[in-house]
Amino acid sequence: MINILFFARLQEEAGRESLHVEKAGYTIRELKEWLDEEYRLTGLNRTMTARNEEFTNDDAVIADGDTIAFIPPVSGG
């Protein structure tokens, strides 16, 4: 199982803060494609990804127990 977190606009679009799915072994790119099909989340290609609270890239492979967070462009400060 992996844990997926949504924030800001993505959270509103997904209608949820998180999702638990059996996607260990997927790359981030494959996970994005799956989410796009399944949940019709727009703009995932403009979204950064964090794995276990560190930024990562689309080629990273997800391990069982990972927390994957989609980070829309930040606007703090």
């Binding site: 924030f7 964090a50 609270e53 560190e54 930024f55 890239n57 980070i71 703090g76």
Partner: protein, 152 residues
Amino acid sequence: MALFEITSEPIAADTVAGKVKRPEAGAVVTFSGTVREWTNGRRTLKLEYEAYRSMAVKQMERIGQEVQDRWPDTRTAITHRVGELHITETAVVIAVSSPHRRSAYEANEYIIERIKELVPIWKKEYWEDGTAWVGDQLETHPYSKGGPPLYD
């Protein structure tokens, strides 16, 4: 006393500055980011800040480490607020102390730039005529035009 904090309470700049004061430092530079009423002729009624809290603290600590590497004589504290904020309320306070003032100014300005690149905090604008998550529109600053660096 945490040097890097996310809070839902109002922030007093003096509290953040107090964390970096020390006998070796002759200068403390503090930046407060406050909620502005007008942006490009559009009126803001309030803002809502949301954070990925645990990661936001980690990223602020990372920025603190970068600052330590570049300006070894500085000490840094950052507090960012989340939740609903009204006009003139403080969203973020950055405090940097140093023996001599130049590095405190430089490091402080570096930190606010890095926060805007790296720290997972989002701002939703409530205008008179609508709402939007800032930064999350193609016409503003999509990551393709210079977002945070990637870490593997």
